[in-house]
Amino acid sequence: MYIDTAADFEIRDYLRQEMMPHFLCPGCGHGIALRALLWAIHDLGLDKDKLAVVSGIGCAGRLSAYIDANTFHVTHGRPLAYATGLALARPDLHVVVITGDGDCLAIGGNHLIHACRRNLKLTCLMLNNEVYGMTGGQVSPTTSETMLTTTTPLGNQEPHFDACALASAAGAGFVGRDVTHHVPKLKELIKAGLAHPGFAFVEVLSDCTEIFGRKNDLGSSPEMIMRQKSEIRPSAYRDTVDTPFRANDLPTGILAQNDRPEYGAAYRRAVAARKGAL
């Protein structure tokens, strides 16, 4: 099913080695997601000089500093807005956004829905670890119900956001989700997102072992990754298997794809048409 290109993928070619060791905690899923992203970039043969990575604030936001590309670590919640300006001003660049669940869905929620609606060519990689890890483990918009965090000592009573449903409803050109358990599959999903001509939203279910895992007694990283695996519903099976999935199961794979006009190209076409008419 997958073309395993791991053999010719050397991750060090895409990392700033002078930034090592990285600052992620042992067991954190973000490094796996970063590997999948860089592998996808490698598979597509994207030029690092023409690659721009814009990231927000939080653990996910720190990843841009490790990537050997044009990288911009901006303000909390705003990477999609910065990336919109960069991509409109420089259509020759391939602009990727790395964001977290708090960055993207709470403080940056408005930018996400309008980025989906606008459908400018950007690839948004949202690493969902269900928690504000950098600030010490507060509840986030994707924290599962009943989970303990430092700000939900009685267990979370708020329903969690389904980011992919939100992105689909807002009109994103490409929407997908996967887990860190399936790295080649995650890589293929990110590749499809990077290759999509419009706005691509890819959610990665990551794990925060040190803070969220500890607080909820979810075990070590392998156990947390297996928990995520037990909750997912690969879209390939969705219509064929009547499954005993849990009530809060999350569909994975490519969840939405459309061919709505890409905004930047549409704008440039309108400009060219007006100039031609003058």
């Binding site: 050997d68 901006v74 300006g85 960069l86 660049l93 408005n110 704008y267």
Partner: protein, 387 residues
């Protein structure tokens, strides 16, 4: 073709336009090729005009989802190497502050127009004010340098908008263009053909990647920027960074980079400073004013002089950094200083600081009206007569 003909044919030369339209045209003349904005009174004409005009010069206009996103998109475009601007008014200016601080700290050139309307909060959207003087200087958190220009006429909005872009590029700094609703929506004639075709650009990185230091300062305190796509693949962050651009909390590296940042504008005051004096040489009373209040003060000076009273005017055009030395010189013989402004005394605070010891009196009007020349003349005359 004479000026009237060219005005009629719309090609160039002298036009009768409002301050906001002059700002939009000044931006185009300065090389602005990206505008992101959000509708807000009384600045929206700038966005509307640029939505029409930017496509004509292969620029990009985008209306973003909010004020915060507009500021962010402008910085994003400038990080891509394109001259960029946004425009707003009071409430929107408040929302832009966090990202404005990012532009100051990461040293990303950009121009932010703030058309001052009555405040606080939603205030008086269609009425003038001059109450954002301190916010323009100190609005974002943490210490940072910023340039603020305060034009007083439609023609000056045009020329100062051009200068704002030049300074943003040369100093790698955000520049705020600060003017009140009166000059924003006042229509006056302006000569549009006084901008040289080629404008200054920021210092771009050159030489080998291995030798490039994104925040090294290069002798004059202003670092060269790496244009994305040019092979440098550098990192930009709002975290405190070292010369290599990567986050650091090493006290020596932090102190070195922030010291350069905090002093870089002082090293370029010859480029930045702009002011105007009128009849200050022998003045017993110096009036200090900006924007539409300076226009009223100008008339007041004429009225006082007609009565034989030695009254002068000092008008900062660059408001921040404040033209301290120039004001001290202008007020060298003054016995009193009068500061008329449409707020509760923000400019007066700075004038008192600079002229320490000299009696400084204010005229403060925050009713949503401009200050009348007669009110300034009456108080200036009284001060000149020693009462």
């Amino acid at each position: 073709m004479n000026a009237v003909d060219t005005a009629l044919t719309g090609k160039s030369a002298v036009k009768l336009i409002s301050g906001n339209h002059a700002c939009a045209l000044g931006a185009i003349a300065a090389g602005c090729r990206f505008f992101a904005g959000y509708p807000i009174t009384p600045s929206s004409e700038i966005a509307e005009r640029l939505a029409r005009q930017l496509p004509e010069v292969d620029g990009v206009f985008v209306q973003m989802e909010d004020e915060i996103a507009s500021m962010a998109a402008v910085i994003g475009a400038s990080m891509g190497g394109v001259k960029a601007m946004t425009a707003t008014s009071g409430p929107g200016f408040s929302l832009k502050q966090e990202n404005l601080g990012y532009a100051a700290g990461a040293e990303i050139p950009c121009v932010v127009v703030n058309v001052m309307r009555g405040g606080p909060s939603t205030g008086m959207p269609t009425r003038p004010s001059q109450a954002d003087l301190m916010q323009a200087r100190w609005g974002s958190h943490g210490d940072y340098p910023i340039i603020v220009l305060a034009p007083a006429s439609v023609a000056e909005i045009y020329s100062e908008t051009i200068r704002a872009f030049d300074l943003a590029e040369l100093c790698r700094s955000p520049v705020v263009l600060l003017y009140d609703q009166v000059v924003a929506q006042l229509s006056e004639t302006v000569a549009l053909d006084n901008a040289p075709a080629s404008r200054p650009e920021r210092k771009w990185a050159s030489g080998p990647r291995s030798a490039y230091k994104p925040y090294a300062g290069d002798g004059d305190g202003i670092p060269a920027m790496a244009r994305p796509g040019a092979g440098y693949r550098s990192h930009t962050t709002g975290l405190t960074h070292g010369e290599d651009g990567f986050p650091t909390q090493n006290p020596e590296a932090v102190t070195r980079n922030l010291s350069r940042l905090f002093t870089k504008l002082e090293r370029h005051r010859d480029l930045i400073d702009a002011w105007e004096t009128l009849n200050c040489d022998d003045a017993d009373v110096v009036i200090v004013a900006i924007g539409i209040s300076a226009r009223a003060a100008l008339r007041a000076v004429e009225q006082c002089r007609a009565q034989g009273l030695r009254v002068g005017l000092f008008r900062p055009i660059t408001l921040w950094p404040f033209p301290e030395q120039q004001l001290r010189r202008a007020a060298a013989k003054a016995r009193a200083v009068l500061v008329p402004e449409m707020n509760t005394g923000q400019l007066r605070l700075e004038v008192e600081r600079v002229l320490g010891g000299l009696p400084v009196e204010g005229i403060q009007l925050f009713s949503g009206e401009a200050i009348a020349p007669a009110d300034i003349a009456a108080r200036a005359a009284a001060l000149a007569r020693g009462s």
